[in-house]
């Protein structure tokens, strides 16, 4: 047997394209977030609330990733912001290359905030850097408070946790405090907001914080 020594990261190619994307964003002073969660935790709903709250003050664009359909993109398009839909055709996560392709189809002049909604999946998207400034993980109260323990990879890589559907706490067996404690055990630096897209609780706080991060990027 002869041996070819390699020592290479398997996803190096994705990481390289992610660096290209990151440079593209930096040159345009664009703040980019990658929203991840299980299916149905409320990524699109939070995005809708965020657009409603920030649209008048910020120049926002959206990339929607879904396995099939452009339903989420249609929801977002109602807000009159540029939106590109990536259909992965069965793929369970977005890759940097797909985002790179989508950038060319978007009208991004003057965009200050780009939101990428990833495919609903708490495992796979954790491994694929898209070039974003930060990952925002959404965990909803209806999923239970043990999610961070079961899917630590995603919570470890995220910078922000949105505990969504907080309005449903009285009806479900989920303690937001336990959820937050579990998440902080895997990532003590997580910034956490409790949100509800129905009562809008926590939405202004989240939006104000997000806006301050965008402004930081503009001044950088």
């Amino acid at each position: 047997m002869s041996v070819v020594t390699i020592q290479r990261k398997v996803l190096e190619k994705n990481d390289e394209v992610a660096s290209v994307n990151r440079r593209y964003f930096a040159e345009r002073k664009m703040f980019v977030i990658n929203m991840v969660s299980s299916p149905g935790s409320g990524k699109t709903s939070i995005l809708e609330c965020t657009l409603e709250h920030l649209k008048s003050g910020l120049n926002i664009a959206v990339i929607e990733g879904d396995v099939q359909t452009d339903l989420d993109a249609q929801r977002v398009a109602k807000f009159g912001v540029p939106v590109a839909q990536i259909v992965t055709n069965g793929g369970c996560h977005l890759e940097a290359k797909l985002v790179n392709d989508a950038l060319s189809s978007l009208q991004l002049s003057g965009t200050q905030l780009l939101v990428i909604e990833n495919v609903g999946n708490l495992v796979c998207p954790a491994n694929y850097d898209l070039g974003e400034a930060m990952k925002v993980v959404v965990a909803s109260t209806t999923e239970g408070d043990d999610k961070p323990l079961k899917y630590p990879g995603m919570f470890h890589k995220a910078s922000v946790l949105l505990v969504n559907k907080i309005d449903l706490v009285p009806y479900v067996n989920c303690s937001p405090d336990r959820l937050k404690k579990n998440a902080l055990q895997i990532n003590p630096t997580l910034k956490i907001f409790e949100t509800s897209c129905t009562t809008k609780q926590g939405i202004p706080e989240w939006c104000d914080w997000l806006k301050s991060e965008v402004v930081k990027q503009l001044r950088a």
Binding site: M1, S2, V3, V4, T5, I6, Q7, R8, K9, V10, L11, K13, N14, G91, C92, H93, E95, V123, C124, A126, N127, Y128, P148, L149, K150, P152, G153, H156, N182, L184, Q185, I186, N187, P188
Partner: protein
């Protein structure tokens, strides 16, 4: 199920390092996978076999070394292997720790069957 796209990336890496005429000599492909890496190894092995069957790589197989999740404490400096799902130092209970292993997803080397080298 991103194991399929991981398997495809592994095949791409093999093709990059091994000349096309030598692909049928590839036997064992050694990998390191961290327990925190989010890859199910059985599923990866299955996907790799499925996409290499009936190709020049049909005799290739993955040999996977599992790397445990480990952290170093920023308070007491000691290393520990916390329970899955936490980064808490086992020695002093501190939360301020740095992950030192467990995120690996790497191809280490490729072993080629030399008995076929002359024939091709």
């Amino acid at each position: 199920m991103h194991e399929l796209s991981v398997a495809e990336s592994v095949v791409e890496i093999i093709q990059q390092y091994v000349p096309r005429t030598d692909l049928n000599r590839v036997r064992c492909v050694r990998m390191k996978i961290g327990e925190f890496g989010g890859v199910v190894t059985d599923s990866l092995t299955f996907c790799f076999q499925a996409i290499t069957a009936q190709t020049d790589l049909s005799k290739a197989s993955l040999e996977i070394e599992h790397i445990p999740f480990a952290v170093r404490c920023q308070e007491c400096g000691q290393e520990s292997r916390p329970e899955f799902g936490t980064v808490v130092c086992e020695h002093c209970g501190a939360l301020r720790t740095t992950v030192i292993s467990g995120n690996e997803l790497q191809v280490v080397d490729i072993n080629l069957d030399d008995s076929l080298a002359e024939a091709t």
